[in-house]
């Protein structure tokens, strides 16, 4: 893909970021095949939020859809970044885990089923504390079980990005797709500034944040597999591309030696800048999406 933006495409594109979680999930399926599971009228909402005077959402901010992508069975789970920062609670976590486990069971029965996670999330929902942490542990176990059979594709488009425990879920997935606007990291900018001081990380410096956490940098250093514009068609194409590729020969998270060597070779006594990291680490493991 050409990283120089084409103005005509830019004007005619349908923004993916502007869609809500439900619209995002639906947009990825073959037309007319998507159906929602455990939707808002099933009222699987958080029992913990009202106890803390927080208004719950009828789907707990987690949309699960089953259908076909490129004619093959797939499940898409989309987190709603506008509701409680897309945070994972007991219910939303259980929905995501169950979706992955059902996809895994289908694969074991001989029905190839891929999974796509649309992650706009700050990680664990603090109001649900340990239950959220437990949910993320279950999600990670379910990803590990499913990714042996079928690709688990993570998309983070923005504007929330993917942080905290759910960045680990992104790290375990078979493929990561990001937009230029997306951010991916274990600790978000505010958390780093709060814990280590403004000298370490100025969370009001947007250029710095995107130079470290942004889609371009993550792609250039091999942490993401595809960098796409904020264009629904490009996101959908990237997902179709990775579904057709199937399970990668070696998952990123299995390349322990590669990443350990990278860290060991890094001299932490001096300040590295994002550009140097790109030059040092290159696009190892990443590839361009062919369209």
């Amino acid at each position: 893909m050409n990283n120089e933006r084409d103005d005509t495409n830019f004007i005619n594109r349908q923004s993916f970021i502007e869609l809500d979680a439900r619209e995002r999930a639906k947009a990825l399926f073959d037309v007319g095949t998507a159906r929602e599971l455990a939707g808002p009228f099933d009222r699987l909402e958080s029992p913990w939020l009202p106890m803390q005077d927080v208004t719950p959402q009828a789907d707990d901010g987690c949309v699960v859809m089953k259908g076909k992508i490129s004619g093959q069975a797939a499940v898409v789970v989309a987190l709603e970044g506008a509701f409680q920062g897309g945070s994972m609670g007991e219910v939303s976590g259980a929905k995501l885990t169950a979706a992955l486990d059902l996809a895994c069971a289908d694969n074991e029965k001989g029905i190839p089923t891929s999974a796509v996670m649309l992650l706009e999330t700050g990680g664990v929902r603090l109001q649900e504390a340990n239950l959220g942490l437990a949910a993320i542990a279950e999600i990670m176990a379910s990803i590990l079980a499913l990714r042996k059979h079928a690709p688990v594709i993570c998309v983070t488009a923005g504007t929330v990005g993917c942080f905290g425990g759910m960045s680990l879920a992104a790290g375990l997935s078979s493929y990561v797709v990001m937009t230029h606007e997306a951010r991916l990291g274990l600790n978000g900018p505010e958390v780093i500034e709060q814990e280590s001081g403004v000298d370490e990380f100025d969370s009001s410096d947007r250029a710095l944040i995107w130079a470290i956490h942004g889609g371009e940098q993550r792609y250039a250093t091999g942490v993401a597999d595809a960098l796409v514009d904020d264009d629904t068609q490009q996101v959908a194409d990237a997902i179709r591309h990775f579904i057709s590729k199937g399970v990668p020969a070696v998952h990123r998270s299995s390349q322990v030696g590669l990443y350990r060597n990278r860290i060991e070779a890094l001299d932490p006594s001096r300040q590295w800048d994002p550009r140097e990291l790109r030059e040092t680490w290159g696009t190892n493991g990443s590839e361009e999406v062919k369209r």
Binding site: G39, P40, D53, T55, P56, A58, E80, F83
Partner: protein, 97 residues
């Protein structure tokens, strides 16, 4: 968080349910479902306390035009009255598509 309930007289049968909106800052979620009998029921959960009169004014205006027999649940995260009315009208539009 405050919970508020209202009932309105209604007569027209509604066949389809509708879900619109997000419980995000300044926005709200509306779940509209076909009801029974001759009245509509509205259940509101709002993150902003103390605006019962404003909710009543918005819903009075909505039900002045809308006569469907429905159950409406609203999960609100501080939407303005204008946004609330727009979301309600959007829910009706979706349910009558």
């Amino acid at each position: 968080m405050e919970q508020i309930k209202f009932d309105y007289p209604a007569k027209r049968k509604v066949s389809r349910r509708a879900h619109v909106g997000v419980v995000g800052s300044g926005d709200l979620e509306v779940l509209l479902e076909p009801g029974e009998g001759e009245s509509s029921h509205v259940f509101i959960r709002t993150s902003v306390d103390g605006f019962r009169d404003t909710w009543k004014a918005v819903l009075d205006r909505f039900f002045a035009k809308y006569d469907g027999v429905v159950r409406i649940q609203i999960n609100d995260a501080g939407a303005t009255p204008g946004s609330v009315l727009l979301r309600l009208e959007q829910a009706v539009e979706v349910s009558e598509q």
